[in-house]
């Protein structure tokens, strides 16, 4: 059947929203990545204290958590597209999707835990 658009467990079940989220999260991720790279270049060679101090700032905490969220969403939209492209058996696809959702949840809480500890 051609005429039935389905969402197949996409992030928001809406192409436009998924797409916008993908783009905005990408920009946040790009900025974060560049901030880290610049920090490492400035403080090269890096030591434990400088690194820990960086994450002790409140803005860095907030920025990191936002970035972590963006990473989770960005990864899900991206990986979801890849999976729905290549994996056609429905049950296998759903199984893998659930597995990935689970791991993303774990990454998220793991990340929060790491950051929390650094305050």
């Amino acid at each position: 059947m051609v005429n039935k658009p389905t969402s197949d467990m996409s992030l928001t079940a809406n192409g436009l929203r998924d797409w916008l989220i993908q783009r905005f999260s990408a920009i946040i991720l790009a900025i974060y990545f560049l901030v880290i790279v610049i920090f490492l270049l400035i403080h090269s060679p890096i030591n434990f204290i400088t690194l820990k101090n960086l994450f002790a700032h409140l803005w860095m905490q907030v920025f990191s958590i936002i970035t972590l969220l963006c990473l989770i969403f960005h990864a899900w939209v991206g990986i979801w597209t890849v999976i729905t492209d290549y994996i056609k058996p429905v049950f296998l696809r759903i199984f893998i999707q659930l597995l990935i959702i689970l791991s993303l949840f774990i990454y998220f809480f793991w990340g929060i835990e790491v950051l929390w500890r650094l305050i």
């Binding site: 990545f33 434990f48 890849v82 791991s103 990454y107 790491v114 500890r117 650094l118």
Partner: protein, 124 residues
């Protein structure tokens, strides 16, 4: 569509344009980055956990195989960043025509090579 048995879909007979290669590499780098998220989180976890952990990560960097792996991760990140930036620019209507998209695709590859070299110098 069952009435026809065959389709012509043989990758070895299809020419992939530069723009397609830039795109598939974006996808591959994305998958790779997704797969190494736990590794990166682990590095962050250990390196910020204690001074001992930090030195552990530092010593890892000295291992040629692992440092090569980290270099690969960074290359993937650079590539994913540049190719992603190209896509976003095209999304807002910049460089949508064929010639510009070929040039920007080439640029993504060249920039990635330059940054791979710079990153290598920085790492070693």
């Amino acid at each position: 569509m069952n009435q026809y048995k065959f389709k012509n879909l043989n990758f070895f007979t299809i020419k992939f344009p530069l723009t397609a290669i830039v795109s598939i590499l974006h996808r591959l780098s994305g998958i790779f980055i997704f797969l190494i998220i736990p590794f990166v989180l682990w590095i962050l976890d250990v390196a910020t956990g204690s001074p001992e952990g930090f030195s552990r990560i530092q010593s890892i960097m000295l291992n040629p195989i692992l440092s090569f792996f980290i270099w690969l991760i960074l290359i993937s990140l650079w590539y994913h960043l540049f190719a992603g930036l190209r896509h976003i620019l095209m999304d807002i209507g910049l460089g949508e025509d064929l010639t510009s998209s070929r040039i920007s695709g080439m640029l993504v590859i060249v920039l990635t090579i330059i940054f791979a070299i710079l990153t290598g110098i920085w790492l070693w």
